[in-house]
């Protein structure tokens, strides 16, 4: 494997890690506040569809993004209604949201566009375009360029805005959760809601805040899939990414910077799985693509089993809060 191969691999890993990271941070806010969310997948899917549909109709990716966030937040509110207001089972609610999104996106896109559950191809202002850095060379001219130029042009330049925003968003999430009053309260409500209630702060309000933040981040993740990574929505396009994000969240033991590392690792595995030729060159043995697909899940089970450190979820996670009389 040449240096340029490695750069290409990392470049693709960055692109693939971005939606995982956004969804993972979404789950971080929700689960830190005590609301388990296995519906990340469904929320991303809902947003992927609506953002692509609205971007196709209006020709503006930003309006599409807003619509996508709206769809995802709506799903979050259903989850909130079920698990906060009516104190239902959060896992069951998450399962329902995943199915709801899988069904609705196909039924509605078939009705709107009649293309078998796709949206029209997006182009121009309907997509988040790559941002080339000044002086960067296109890929085909890079083979003979120097390593510094290759690094600059291939790896650093030419990503969409969300890839560049990913690290600032991690920082912002860390800052909100660990350096602000809201963050302290959100974490407290996930560990000991009774104490928060005793202090006169609304448990319900905080938990709704958390699921709405979760909806917004999942919305961006879904819109990224349909309008930046790809050019339009196709049926089931999230392809389990919501669950990989969930795995990454556990792998990161519910911490933001660790989430960045976990998502980069899982994004790298996805990028690797797309280039079986590189794997053979690098390891000189044929590694099965299916193993790479399964690796995030296997690693997460290993972490969960406590074989490598212990992953302790927020203490009040998954339990509805019942006020004392």
């Amino acid at each position: 494997m040449t240096f340029f191969d490695l750069l290409q691999l990392l470049d693709s890993a960055f692109r693939l890690a971005t939606p995982l990271l956004l969804a993972c941070l979404a789950g971080l806010f929700s689960e830190r506040a005590g609301i388990f969310d296995i519906g990340l997948e469904g929320k991303m899917l809902a947003s992927a569809f609506l953002s692509a549909a609205v971007a196709a109709i209006t020709g503006s990716v930003w309006i599409g993004l807003l619509a996508g966030i709206g769809a995802s937040v709506l799903m979050s509110l259903i989850h909130g209604l079920a698990s906060i207001t009516f104190r239902g089972n959060q896992i069951i609610s998450g399962v329902a949201i995943n199915f709801l999104a899988a069904g609705l996106t196909v039924v509605i896109s078939q009705s709107w566009f009649g293309q078998g559950g796709r949206t029209p191809q997006l182009s121009g202002a309907g997509r988040f375009e790559p941002i080339p850095w000044p002086g960067a060379l296109p890929s085909r001219e890079l083979a003979d360029a120097g390593p510094a130029m290759q690094l600059y042009s291939e790896l650093l330049s030419g990503h969409t805005i969300w890839v560049y925003l990913a690290v600032p968003i991690v920082f912002a999430s860390w800052w909100v959760l660990f350096r602000t009053r809201l963050g302290l309260r959100l974490r407290a409500v996930g560990e000991n809601p009774a104490a928060v209630d005793t202090a006169g702060i609304s448990v319900v309000g905080l938990r709704y805040t958390a699921v709405i933040i979760c909806g917004v981040l999942c919305g961006i993740a879904g819109a990224y899939l349909a309008t930046a990574l790809q050019a339009g929505f196709v049926k089931d396009m999230t392809a389990g990414r919501g669950f990989i994000a969930l795995a990454a969240l556990i792998f990161a033991k519910w911490r933001p910077w660790a989430a960045l590392n976990a998502c980069l690792l899982f994004g790298f595995l996805q990028a690797f799985a797309l280039r079986p030729d590189l794997i053979e060159k690098l390891l000189t043995v044929k590694v099965q693509v299916q193993l790479l697909d399964a690796l995030p899940y296997i690693l997460t089970v290993v972490i969960l089993a406590g074989l490598v450190g212990k992953a302790d979820p927020p203490k009040a996670g998954g339990q509805p809060y019942v006020k004392e009389n």
Binding site: A102, V107, G240, Q290
Partner: protein, 366 residues
């Protein structure tokens, strides 16, 4: 919350939930410019008014009974087995190995062998999450989700690399030998003189295995010591432990039964219908078991009824996809709404029903 009588809790709540789900689905159908009454009529005509429709419906029902029972038994122990899909995939692998590599003289023997294969493989796949929950406290919901994906990758690998016949492009095993082929409802009807009944539909003898499983599970839960221990653990782990029940043992045993039941689904699909192991043969039936168990209130008879309803919806959805511009994914929406109303918004429906009983002056007997 206002009190409601026991019968209403068991019968009325699921019914009201299904009606709510149906109403929401009707609004969706209206919103996409189709006629919900016409759609319903088409589903009923295509499913209940022809024998082949029944044949398809009961085929789906068979799957849903097995996966619904799998989720139910776990619910009784307060475990959420979301891994039915993966356990069913492994069950398919068990069925395929038994059918391909053992020369069966007759289907009556083959179905026993295949059932053992399906149950053992399904149970093995449930055993690891069960052990991790029992001994290491790893959340079983998360581990079973992860195991679904691992199962899919494993099956994909085996079908593409190992089990595929030489020269075939299709990721599937070779067809099973004739000695393993199960009689379909069509064969059985022809045997008693009704030629042409159930023509071309996939329902087969494994439907009766599903019925047997319902009865057996009922007996297990309410008529055996193990069933008592499972329910005791589900109600109160600490009380169960004081009574000398080992939670770890019961968790593992319950999950083995659950995984085995989910695996049994493959006898219907893999041995009964496809007669070879194909990719994605589970078609989400493992997840549908959650809806079935919730609606059936984790009681085997309730599971049977709920599985019939979803069998009807599945076949009806296929009819819709065939005759109208409504895609069959509408069924996913209905399934989601049922899960939402019966499961997650259970308290909301209960509150509504309680209000009605309050209005007619119902009070809890002291």
């Amino acid at each position: 919350m206002k009190p409601i009588p026991g019968w209403a809790d068991v019968i009325l709540i699921p019914l009201v939930s299904v009606v709510l789900a149906a109403l929401c689905a009707a609004v969706l159908v209206l919103a996409i410019d189709e006629n919900p009454v016409e759609a319903m009529k088409l589903m009923i005509d295509g499913t209940l008014f022809r024998s082949a429709g029944w044949g398809f419906m009961l085929y789906y029902t068979t799957n849903f009974i097995f996966t619904g029972l799998a989720v139910s038994i776990a619910f009784h122990a307060a475990l959420f087995n979301i891994g039915g899909e993966g356990q069913a995939m492994l069950g398919g692998l068990g069925v395929a190995l038994v059918c391909l590599f053992i020369p069966w003289p007759h289907w009556t023997l083959a179905i026993i062998g295949a059932s053992v294969g399906a149950m053992v493989f399904g149970a093995i796949w449930a055993a690891i999450p069960a052990y991790l929950q029992a001994k290491r406290g790893s959340h079983i919901v998360i581990t079973t989700i992860m195991f679904n994906f691992i199962a899919a990758a494993l099956l994909n690998y085996l079908l593409v690399n190992t089990l595929k016949p030489v020269g075939s492009m299709d990721p599937a095993t070779a067809s099973f030998p004739a000695g393993t082929h199960l009689p379909t409802f069509q064969d059985m009807a022809a045997l008693v003189g009704f030629d042409g009944m159930f023509r071309g539909s996939p329902a087969n003898v494994s439907f009766f295995l599903a019925i047997i499983a319902c009865v057996a599970l009922w007996a297990l839960i309410w008529r055996t010591r193990l069933g008592y221990q499972i329910r005791a653990l589900g109600h109160s782990p600490s009380a169960a432990q004081y009574a000398g029940i080992s939670p770890a043992k019961i968790i593992v045993v319950t999950m083995l039964i659950s995984g085995g039941l989910a695996g049994m689904m493959a006898v219907n699909t893999t041995q009964g219908e496809a007669e070879r192991l194909i990719l994605n043969f589970t078609e989400g039936a493992g997840f549908l078991g959650i809806a079935v168990a919730l609606m059936g209130r984790s009681h085997p008879f309730g599971v049977f009824l709920a599985a019939l309803l979803f069998g009807f919806l599945f076949q009806g959805g296929a009819e819709l996809g065939f005759w109208t511009s409504i895609p069959r994914e509408l069924i996913l929406v209905i399934q989601a709404l049922v899960i939402l109303f019966v499961g997650a918004l259970d308290n909301m429906v209960r509150m509504m029903v309680g209000q009605v009983f309050g209005l007619i002056g119902y009070k809890e007997a002291a």
